[in-house]
Amino acid sequence: MAVITAGRLENGGAAVRLHNLRRTFDDLVVINRLTLDIRAGEFLAILGPSGCGKSTLLRLIARLVEPTTGTVEVTPADVKFHTAYVFQDAHLLPWRTVLENTVLPLELMGTDTAESAARARAALAEVGLAEAEVRYPAQLSGGMRMRVSLARALVTQPKLLLLDEPFAALDEITRFRLDIRLRELWLERGMTVIFVTHSITEAAFLADRAVVLTRKGGGIKMDRRLALPEIRRNELRASPEFGREMEALLAAMEEES
């Protein structure tokens, strides 16, 4: 069981409460009566087959789309700049340098230029891109671009970090590296992380808790606390406890696919 130690909560995470959430697009019911409580500081993985509404759920939490009925409650309430979102593609502004891209959220918030630059540099350092500051996205590899996207997400010290299959387009080694780094960052900062994926391996490696959605209508098939250590390294992937969690998740996924 992951332990949330006292020291980390000073930055703190947001708690998210979904109650009877329903979202339709014309006649199509994408999410149907979903209720879920996410604790502050939790690392939650949302798993499910394609088309099960994972991305929609994430966008509902981010308030990018409004629910048809039901509620999304985020505590603390004013989280406009405390929610960050990482997309499947890095989605950087190609006409801006790495630094200028990272600084963007602070720029939009109206933060002082000098301070923004300093914070952006710090964020880039955390993802290992300190030397790439003046490069343009076109000059970076896919993995590097995703790191910039991550740095951009972290620069506002978010209480809620939402990621929608961010590493899906990357090669496995880069993926493993970023998985480890993401987990480290979560441990350092204590924010709430909600990570959408269709990879059982990734969900098991990253999260404390995994929710498997049903194939249709976004209901919850399984909600499981993962019995895995706090610090995760690649060796874990070969361990028996990992295998056990994987099996459970796999079983749930298989039934829904």
Binding site: R59, F87, H91, L93, W95, L108, Y136
Partner: protein, 253 residues
Amino acid sequence: MRKVLGRVVPAAIPLVVFMVGMEWLVRVGWIKAFLVPPPSAVFNTLLRDWRELFTALAKTSAGALAGFALGTVGGIAIGVFLSSSRAIQRAFYPYAVFFQTVPIIAIAPLLVIWFGYGMRTVVASAFIVSIFPVIANTLSGLLSTDPALRDLFRLYGASNSATLWKLRFPAALPQILTGLRIAGGLAVIGAIVGEFIGGQGLGSVVDVARTQQRTDKVFAAVLLASALGLALFGFINLLSRVLLRRWHASEQD
């Protein structure tokens, strides 16, 4: 140097072949010189009447450039305005299309009545003819912003103005430049048409030479007008290179 030659020579070869061919065809009488002048006659005229022709070129350039500049500014402004909402688009876009469809030859006499003989009519004509591609491409570019990036801006509570100037407009720049490329050549055509009626520049040279059956002079003037269009096109390409060099696929080797 070699790089420049490498670009210029392949383009120049068909031209040289064509000109030699034309010269020969006229000299052996297959093509009548009074219908299509041989290249040698055109060049002779360029040299002999250079003062008149280049003064005319300067005038046409001024008119075309002014019309083009106004068309660029106006076109981008209208494009931005139209992109602000669906309702506005539906209400006003059809009128913008009017710029595209109005036959300039038919309304040129009206232009003279409104703007008088001279430069104002020329500029007005160049403006009317060149503005639509700028409007259409600006609008298209502004409407095709990456939805994920729009979400990102929304997430951070960016104002409409911030989203426009920091995201949508830079993203639309490649497309706007495409619009400018098209508009440049059209501005030259518009200027010449305006000059037929308004009476100056290369358009006037063509009109007068025509009544004198001086096809060599007509061709010489047309050649200069094409050169002007080409220069404008080249300038926009240069601009595109400078603006997009670092980040857009179209300018990367």
